[in-house]
């Protein structure tokens, strides 16, 4: 499956919810030192729901498109659902998801092919882990080192 499909290229070119929020309640920075991806994520959370989300930064197309599509999937949704989606997305890029997971993923399934590119899995999953870091007030996560979300 070709990863660089129209949808991904489009989100890379015109990432949605890109920029910053004026009143974030949560934020975190996500780093992938191996390829130099660096994103900042801001959330406005009210009543356990993501009211608003914004991402900014410099990254490869896979990471950027993944971040952009993630914002569309979680905006306006309860934190709990975002957490579930993170876990399902993570399972998908590692090739460990099942059919019931698939229905939850919807358009995010476009990233399925990445499981055949182990060196790029971290690019796709970085926004999701940055989202969890923001929710958990972790401040900063990195794909390398002790807080590497993929190998841990």
């Amino acid at each position: 499956m070709n990863l660089y499909q129209e949808v991904i290229l489009d989100h890379n070119k015109k990432p949605r919810n890109w920029g910053t929020l004026s009143n974030p309640t949560h934020q975190a920075e996500g780093l992938n030192p191996l390829c130099g991806d660096r994103i900042w994520l801001m959330l406005e959370v009210m009543d356990e729901s993501i009211v608003d989300i914004a991402v900014d930064g410099e990254s490869c197309a896979i990471c950027k498109a993944s971040a952009s599509m993630m914002t569309l999937s979680v905006k306006g949704k309860p934190l709990k659902l975002a957490e579930e989606l993170t876990s399902v997305f993570r399972k998908m890029v590692l090739g460990e998801h099942n059919e019931s997971d698939e229905s939850q993923l919807g358009r995010l399934k476009i990233f399925q092919g990445i499981k055949d590119l182990p060196s790029r899995v971290k690019c796709a999953v970085l926004p999701w882990h940055t989202l969890q870091a923001a929710v958990n007030s972790q401040g900063r996560i990195s794909t390398e080192g002790s807080d590497d979300p993929i190998s841990s």
Partner: protein, 418 residues
């Protein structure tokens, strides 16, 4: 095993690349239905059939531990291992086999020197000098040393072209400088450093010099007596040899003064619980069972390179570099990083609006293997304000057509991201 490639004599003619390619079985493989175009030689090069055969022959009929038993296999393995040492010594024009220490690679060699020389002779207030073009393996061991002994790590700046700033370098040398560690060739940008000039300057202060030759030895004739450094290190896997083995050359006088690096078997003369007498060099620095098969394979790789001729290889890579530079320069929105007048067959570049990782993945779809990322040289990347580059690096078996495949690949990526 009779091996015709060993008897191929180097001559002054151009390389017969199509003949050479036949020596490398892996070059006949394909990736995603495309013939493999391997342009990641700075990370690791491939082994010719004769090296693969030599290693396999060792496992089939010679394997045993060395320097220990009196039985036939052990004596044979010892002889072959030591023969490799001689091959390497002659290849580098070192004075004596004693000066050739087998390590696990470049990284192993640098750590050995940082510890065995550095910890013994460097003190608080001393300075260690490196360049801004170093691989992490020639940065971190010195940083660790400096932290331990209270010395200071100083970095020689590089110009926009990616060359070492020689004026700055001279002004940084002082009686406080107690070690200079330089890469021969930058793995990230391809810059060939003027190490002979730099070593001469350091000599006037009596500063010991280590040269990281990981990207030097595979690609040019190395004459250690002419270069006159104190230490020279490199890896087998970047010069048609196997991984897991490398070489540390050190001047006898210095090696004798240094403490052992690791303790264990082979590096001792006698052991009691009260006192251990250390073996003489090179064995003092080869504790435990060394990578025997790999060292023997490395010896064969050296013979192979000699049969082709390092000057011829160097010339061939220069032609590839010139062609690749010209073709890449024609592509709008593409910037080559590193424009030194003296470059090895390494070319690093960035493209407007396309991250190197996407470039690497998409080139792989066309069968073109390049390296993307920071190339274990993050400070070099920072100097040029990029998080990563795409790097193509050439070797004796690469062709003009390989570069054409690279260029075609880049054009198709530009279309995708347009």
């Amino acid at each position: 095993m009779n091996d015709p490639t060993i008897f191929r004599k180097p001559n002054n003619r151009k390389l017969d690349v199509s003949e050479i390619r036949k020596d490398f079985p892996i070059l006949q493989t394909s990736v995603k239905g495309n013939p493999l175009v391997y342009l990641d030689n700075a990370a690791s090069s491939h082994m010719p059939q004769c090296v693969i055969d030599r290693i396999s022959e060792y496992h089939l009929s010679e394997h045993s531990n060395i320097h220990r038993a009196v039985h036939k296999l052990s004596e044979e393995a010892t002889a072959k291992f030591e023969e490799s040492r001689t091959i390497v010594k002659e290849f580098l024009n070192a004075r004596d086999e004693k000066e050739i220490i087998f390590t696990r690679g470049t990284t192993g060699g640098i750590n050995l020197v940082a510890k065995s020389y550095g910890e013994k002779f460097l003190r608080e207030g001393d300075e260690v000098l490196i360049s801004h073009l170093e691989h992490h393996s020639n940065i971190v061991p010195w940083q660790m040393l400096c932290q331990k002994v209270g010395a200071e790590l100083k970095v020689i700046p590089v110009t926009q072209e990616g060359e070492v700033d020689l004026e700055e370098y001279k002004s940084m040398l002082s009686t406080k400088t107690k070690f200079l560690s330089l890469t021969h060739v930058s793995n990230a940008l391809g810059t060939v450093l003027p190490i002979k000039t730099m070593i001469k300057e350091a000599r006037s202060y009596g500063i010991p010099v280590l040269v990281d030759g990981a990207q030097g030895v595979p690609h040019m004739t190395i004459d250690l007596r002419d270069i006159d450094c104190d230490f020279y290190v490199f890896s087998g896997h970047k010069m048609c040899g196997p991984s897991g083995v490398g070489v540390l050359y050190g001047k006898e006088e210095l090696l004798n003064k240094m403490d052992p690096y690791e303790g264990g078997g082979d590096m001792i003369l006698s052991v009691t619980f009260e006192k251990t007498l250390y073996n003489k060099i090179p064995y003092k620095f080869e504790a435990g069972t060394p990578p025997i098969a790999q060292a023997i394979g490395l010896g064969r790789a050296v013979n192979y390179l000699q049969s082709i001729g390092l000057n011829q290889i160097n010339q061939h890579e220069k032609e590839l570099l010139a062609y690749a530079t010209k073709r890449l320069d024609e592509i709008s929105g593409l910037t080559i990083i590193g424009r030194s007048k003296h470059k090895a067959g390494v070319i690093s570049f960035v493209m407007d609006g396309v991250h190197p990782h996407d470039v690497g993945t998409l080139l792989n779809d066309k069968g073109v293997a390049v390296r993307t990322g920071h190339h274990c040289a993050q400070p070099t990347m920072q100097r040029f304000g990029v998080p990563a580059t795409t790097r193509a690096s050439f070797y004796l078996y690469n062709t003009i057509s390989d570069i054409d495949q690279l260029i075609n690949g880049i054009h198709s990526i530009k279309k995708i991201f347009d």
